[in-house]
């Protein structure tokens, strides 16, 4: 087990470190200006000049990926953090204590899941106005229920387990039991939910940007680049592959790291 943990830690750590270095580099320097166009270099395939080729405006895809990875990473991280933290708080309280608050919060979560995301985003744009911050709020809210539900069911199960009962008898406080004893049990579920959630956040950001929230063109985000690249699958397959690959690496690195950390414990 230890050895396995190390494999994951090392590989995940390496990929994550690489991606973080690239993202940080992107804040200061990119090989080309990510929005600079070049009519002569439209759809250039990957080469030494353009590592990942160029897009329909002759913009350097590598520079845009580097630039967009940073933006997408920050947005997705915030969204998943909001969803996950709020989900843990709501889910744990509901699952552990039950009763009326549980009934109410569960109803609210159901309502959010049933409420069309597109409509919620429209409402947020019209209340809070357009802007990058608002996409985080909109998606954050949308991401709460799935986390809450998973956490809730784990807590509901665990609170009946013998060791929790004995901890209670020994006088451990509710919060101590919830977060010291039960929460670690939910980690495997949470970790995979986080990596899927991260993925969804990157893509949802793109699907919402046409409402005016999220990244607006010509600035790049990985999600919007991936959806743009769809139109050019035939003329520039490297566009989709480069962008999709970056998303996969970004998420894979962190989920391997998470898996490694979990195994090590």
């Amino acid at each position: 087990m230890k050895k396995r943990a190390n494999i994951f830690l090392v590989s995940g750590g390496a990929v994550s470190l690489l991606m973080i270095c690239i993202i940080v580099m992107g804040w200061f320097w990119t090989p080309y200006d990510p929005t600079a166009m070049d009519a002569k270099a439209k759809f250039s395939p990957p080469s030494l000049q353009h590592l990942l080729g160029t897009d329909n405006f002759g913009r350097d895809i590598f520079s845009r990926v580097v630039d967009g990875a940073g933006t997408s990473f920050v947005i997705a991280l915030c969204v998943v953090a909001i969803g996950c933290i709020a989900g843990i708080i709501i889910g744990s309280l509901c699952g552990y204590y039950g009763g009326l608050p549980d009934v109410i919060l569960t109803r609210v979560c159901d309502s959010i899941t049933a409420f069309p995301a597109f409509l919620l985003a429209l409402v947020i744009v019209s209340i809070a106005g357009p802007g990058t911050e608002n996409i985080i709020i909109a998606l954050g809210i949308l991401f709460i229920p799935s986390f809450a539900r998973i956490v809730r069911s784990e807590f509901a199960r665990c609170r009946e387990l013998n060791y929790i009962k004995s901890a209670k008898i020994m006088g451990a406080g509710g919060f101590r039991i919830m977060f010291r004893h039960i929460l670690p049990n939910t980690l495997p579920v949470l970790l995979s939910a986080v990596s899927i959630g991260f993925n969804n956040a990157v893509l949802s950001e793109a699907s919402m940007s046409f409402l005016g929230i999220g990244i607006q063109p010509p600035y790049a985000s990985l999600g919007s680049m991936l959806s743009d690249s769809q139109s050019f699958l035939y003329s520039a397959p490297w566009y989709a592959l480069g962008t999709g690959g970056a998303i996969v690496l970004l998420i894979l690195g962190f989920s391997l790291l998470g898996e490694g950390l979990h195994l090590k414990r």
Binding site: T35, A36, M37, A39, K42, P45, P46, N56, F57, G58, L122, V125, S126, P130, S209, F210, L211, G212, Q216, P217, P218, Q230, S231, F232, L233, Y234, S235, P237, W238, L241
Partner: protein, 517 residues
């Protein structure tokens, strides 16, 4: 390049197949066999019917007076006809009327109803139906220009098989509005879901977000359509539409991009026309800094339309220079397109003169459902950087655009395209009169208002044309907007299918299509 593409394609194939196999975990799931409608079989036995791919749903009312979406009008052109109808040259030919006469003073029009015109529901068309159609259209049409033109009718009456229409004032464009009054049977109440007209095709069925089916009208008075049946398949994803086209499942797809055309591998005939749209960076003339003519002119000099066309359509498309597109040969003046050659220095000088030597920033609000406009905005932002102007793009959903930008005029600049709802210049020019309620940009120019009014009341056609041309010059001189292009429109057609004709309107005439033997 080609080699790399092929390698990448193989790589893609491997990656995905691997993914799928792993996902399946080795179990055998039955794949749907190759579809029945693969390229060759469908080509060989077309059964005299075609499948057309369209990129948006026909989600309107189908009532001819209530439909608004360009896509719906494009299809329903085949179902409905007026007393006269436009042909591909932009002239009017007789349809439900067999003949018409205009009095000397331009106040009386006499139409002779054609014999043997039968509605799709079997009813024959009478003068009562024609009068009913005019009255209904005047009362309910959602196209305000048509309503306004019809409101000048003081009397409409029938005698035998002639219909006489009397106007309160002459209107040289009147016949173009007559073509917008679709003739429908009196007393039929289900137009909005099961339309009945007199056109060469009759409506068969509509499946929401799936398909829309038309069949040949066997009782058509004129030369009957050659195709038995036209099925419109609705794709709301451009990529899926293209994949279906490329696999040979579709016989006709219009409004393709240059990129899709370049990648079409299936031996389609590709025809090029124009979209018949005035695409421009529309500037709100009432807000700072666009209330300053110098700033607007500076913007015109700062935008390089040739390079724009290069970026968005490999040079295809037509430069405009004013609110008119080339399909209106009579009014279109190519010289206006060159009025503001690309000149960064001149733009900077004009900006300095206007007091913006350090540039300024503004927001371009773009309707996000139409990718060509978004792409254009992206190029604009990049071009304006050269003169120190910092433009930001703000995408909005179509309904929000209609409400906020078009309705409330709450915007700084927007990229969109205006088309002509009727085949006359006023359809494009009336909106820039200062008190017109569709004057989205708050254009306010006394000379323009005057010239346009003169053109409207001119009895002589050549005089009217000259005045309309003058209107176009005023728009260009005052740089009302940064006029860009009429976008290129590519149509892929099954090579066995002949007779496709471009119209100066946004319509596709299915009755002229036929299979070559």
């Amino acid at each position: 390049m080609a080699v790399i593409k092929r390698i990448l394609a193989v790589f893609l194939a491997m990656a995905v197949t691997a993914g799928l196999l792993c996902g399946c975990g080795g179990t055998t799931t039955q794949n749907p066999g190759p579809s029945d409608e693969t390229t060759d079989s469908s080509r060989a036995d077309h059964g005299n019917e075609i499948t057309v791919g369209i990129a948006q749903d026909l989600d309107d009312s189908l009532d001819p007076n209530l439909m608004t979406a360009a896509g719906t009008r494009e299809v329903m052109f085949n179902v409905f006809e007026g007393l006269v109808k436009p042909n591909s040259d932009g002239d009017y030919v007789c349809a439900v009327a067999s003949d018409y006469e205009k009095s000397e003073d331009g106040l009386t029009y006499t139409f002779t109803l054609r014999d043997g015109v039968v509605f799709h529901n079997g009813q024959s068309c009478t003068t009562d139906d024609v009068i009913y159609s005019f009255e209904t259209c005047a009362a309910t049409s959602v196209t305000s220009a048509v309503v306004t033109a019809l409101s000048a009718i003081t009397d409409i009456s029938a005698q035998g098989n002639t219909i006489t229409i009397t106007l309160s004032a002459p209107n040289p464009d009147f016949i173009s509005y007559v073509s917008s009054v679709y003739i429908m049977p009196k007393g039929y109440t289900e137009q909005s879901t099961a339309p009945v007209g007199t056109g060469p095709f009759r409506f068969v069925s509509r499946s929401v977000q799936e398909n829309f089916i038309l069949e040949r009208n066997e009782d058509y008075y004129g030369e009957a359509a050659k195709l038995d049946k036209v099925t419109y398949k609705i794709y709301e994803d451009n990529n899926a539409l293209f994949t279906a086209l490329n696999s040979g499942a579709l016989d006709l797809v219009a409004h393709l991009t240059i990129d899709q055309v370049n990648n079409l591998s299936n031996g389609y005939n590709v025809l090029e026309g124009t979209m018949n749209l005035v695409q421009a960076l529309y500037l709100n003339n009432a807000v700072e800094p666009f209330d300053n003519e110098l700033v607007r002119q500076a913007l015109c000099y700062a935008v390089d339309v040739d390079s724009m066309l290069e970026f968005t359509a490999e040079g295809h498309g037509t430069k405009l220079g004013s609110s008119m597109y080339p399909a209106f040969g009579k009014y279109f003046d190519p010289a206006l397109a060159e009025a503001y050659p690309y000149d960064v220095e001149k733009a900077k000088k004009l900006l300095a003169e206007a007091g913006y030597e350090n540039g300024f920033s503004f927001t371009i609000t773009v309707p996000s459902n139409y990718q060509p406009h978004v792409d254009t905005a992206v190029v604009l932002v990049e071009q304006l950087k050269a003169v120190g102007i910092d433009a930001q793009i703000q995408q909005v959903e179509w309904n929000t655009w209609l409400t906020e930008v078009y309705g409330n005029r709450n915007f700084e600049a927007t990229v969109c395209g205006f088309d002509a709802s009727t085949l006359n210049a006023s359809a494009l020019l009336a909106r820039w009169v200062s008190d017109n309620d569709k004057n989205m940009i708050n254009y306010n120019n006394a000379l323009y208002d005057e010239t346009f009014a003169q053109a409207q009341s001119a009895a002589d056609e050549s005089e009217q044309t000259a005045l309309y041309k003058q209107c176009l010059e005023i728009l260009s001189d005052t740089a009302a907007n940064v006029y860009l292009q009429d976008l290129a429109d590519f149509v892929a057609v099954n090579p066995e299918l002949q007779g496709f004709t471009f119209y100066p309107l946004y319509v596709i005439d299915m009755s002229c299509l036929y299979f070559a033997d």
